[in-house]
């Protein structure tokens, strides 16, 4: 067992499809400045920094060097991590490990991306094995469309089930001043939006955004001193299983099942649907907001559409999912997972503004990347 760790400050940029007013370094500085302000700290209080993004999206390697002024990391230990879509949650996991190790007291985690600087789909395609499956595997939509097709066939889930999720999240984003896409939509609007790759339509899918997020982790003694209500880390679990597209089980998400089962065990959670007060989940498409609910142990395999239709995951439901509007409203890829952590921390800290879930004391966070990687983090108001 390591040291207990709490989140004591969160900052994020106002996200957009293109932030022409700010360079990558300036986006990073905006998020870091806001996190320091949120925690009422200065850069002198930071002992180490973890930063990450996806190099292919900007074609500048080495952000830990060229962004060091905006990052506030001059003469500090800086660690860069990059794990595809899970980058943001991996940054959080690494910051947590760094503090929990007892070697650093206060660690700044920063994720960022400037997707406007390249062709995101072409850049994403470079993640696929170039001598085997890159030719048709290109892009992020295909695999998600294929897995939901399989789920529909196996359990009778529908396009409308996904559209309910899309409308829910897009309307939630109206309460989030930082969200990239803030537009009221109906289930009908989603179903009528242009088809991208069956069964995923335009309004089912995440955008690509410019943005950054910063989250400050502190060891127990410091967290108690510096923050009236830290969001304590109860569990942080990572599971990766990439082989080839055709090797994987697609009617459920094995990595998410294994990661969440382990995290629940660490946090002593036996009935996740009842025990969690709020969830910020990395759902890159609305279809995942149906299918992956099975894999988080909220219900038996194939039962998720019923929960979605009952409104269990709505703001006034049993477990509000993505009060922020989630990934389909904001997606600066290297920051996306960290925004989930930051939003969940704000829920626990009572700082989530118009999207606050009343008396949120236990929050579930996930990250998704590759095919198929899952990160799970659990945050709570009580000491773990």
């Amino acid at each position: 067992m390591g040291k207990r760790v709490g989140i004591i400050g969160v900052g994020q940029t106002h996200h957009a499809s293109q932030r022409l007013d700010a360079s990558g370094v300036e986006l990073i500085a905006e998020a870091v400045t806001r996190a320091l302000d949120d925690a009422e700290l200065t850069v002198k209080d930071i002992d180490a920094v973890v930063i990450g993004n996806m190099d292919h999206f900007e074609n500048i390697n080495y952000v830990d060097m060229w962004a060091v002024d905006g990052l506030g990391a001059v003469m500090k230990p800086v660690f860069k991590v990059t794990t595809g879509g899970t980058t943001g949650t991996t940054i959080a996991a690494c910051a947590f490990y760094t503090v929990a190790s007892g070697l650093f007291d206060v660690v700044l985690a920063v994720g960022w991306e400037k997707n406007s600087e390249s062709d995101t789909q072409a850049a994403v395609a470079t993640c696929a094995n170039p001598v085997l499956e890159r030719d048709f595997f290109a892009g992020a939509i295909g695999p998600l469309a294929t897995e939901y097709s399989m789920y529909m066939k196996a359990y009778g889930a529908t396009e409308e089930d996904a559209a309910i999720v899309a409308a829910r999240e897009r309307n939630n984003a109206l309460n989030n001043p930082y969200a990239h896409v803030r537009q009221a939509v109906t289930v009908e609007d989603v179903l009528k939006s242009p088809m991208l790759s069956y069964p995923i339509k335009f309004l089912d899918m995440c955008p690509r955004s410019d943005g950054a997020c910063a989250v400050i982790f502190a060891v127990e003694e410091k967290a108690k001193k510096l923050c009236p209500k830290p969001a304590w880390v109860h569990a942080s679990v990572v599971r990766h299983d990439y082989t080839h597209f055709g090797d994987l089980e697609w009617t459920f998400m094995p990595t998410l099942e294994r990661a969440s089962a382990e995290a629940y065990k660490l946090a002593g959670i036996t009935n996740p649907l009842k025990e969690f007060d709020v969830a910020e989940l990395y759902l890159p498409a609305s279809t995942c907001g149906v299918k992956w609910m099975d894999s988080l142990w909220f219900c038996e395999h194939g039962e998720a559409p019923k929960l979605v239709r009952k409104g269990v995951f709505d703001m006034d439901g049993e477990l509000p999912v993505n009060p922020s509007g989630g990934v389909i409203c904001t997606n600066p890829i290297g920051a996306t997972g960290l925004i989930r952590v930051g939003e969940a921390a704000w829920q626990i800290m009572g700082r989530a503004g118009a999207r606050q879930v009343e008396n949120a004391r236990l929050a579930l966070v996930t990250g998704f990347g590759g095919c198929s990687w899952s990160d799970v983090m659990i945050l709570g108001a009580d000491l773990p």
Binding site: A22, S23, V25, E26, L36, V43, G72, S118
Partner: protein, 154 residues
């Protein structure tokens, strides 16, 4: 089975993806480049706390993490702190054919050095401590080559 590789040419696939990258210059460096392009002036920014003057300008002070919000115009003269003579060709990137000189130039009024080309002098005659001045390009487009090069002060 061990012989089959002898009868074929080792396989290598060419890449198909060419990503068209662009980079947002941002508020801080846009101010620097606009002054250079439109007014032919070299501006630096200064930290209000520790008074360090940065050229090219910084997003945040590297010492205090404050916004270097005070802008100052520099005279365009400076001193060579170090240099090298580049003798190989990198035609995709280098703005000059080899041999050319690039060096660290400590601008008068600034605390940091600017990296740039030193020209109008035989490479072998460049010296550390030499006084130089910026020569602006005639057609300026808002980039670092709006300063064509530095040359010895006559």
């Amino acid at each position: 089975m061990s012989d089959w590789k002898k009868s074929i040419t080792p396989m290598v696939f060419p890449g198909k993806i060419a990503v068209p990258y662009t980079w947002t210059v941002g508020s801080t460096l846009s101010k620097f480049y606009c002054e250079l392009r439109d007014n032919g002036k070299i501006w630096a920014n200064k930290c209000p706390a520790c008074k360090t003057v940065f050229v090219p300008p910084k997003v945040k002070c590297i010492h205090c993490y404050r916004d270097p919000s005070i802008w100052v115009e520099l005279p365009g003269t400076g001193t060579v702190e170090s240099y090298t003579i580049v003798r190989y060709e990198e035609p995709m990137l280098h703005p000059r054919k080899a041999p050319f000189v690039y060096g660290l130039i400590k601008m008068d009024g600034a605390d940091t050095c600017m990296v740039h080309i030193i020209d109008e002098i035989e490479p072998e005659k460049v010296k550390v401590g030499m006084r130089v001045e910026a020569v602006l390009s005639e057609n300026r487009e808002g980039n670092i080559l709006d300063i064509s090069h530095f040359r010895p002060v006559k």
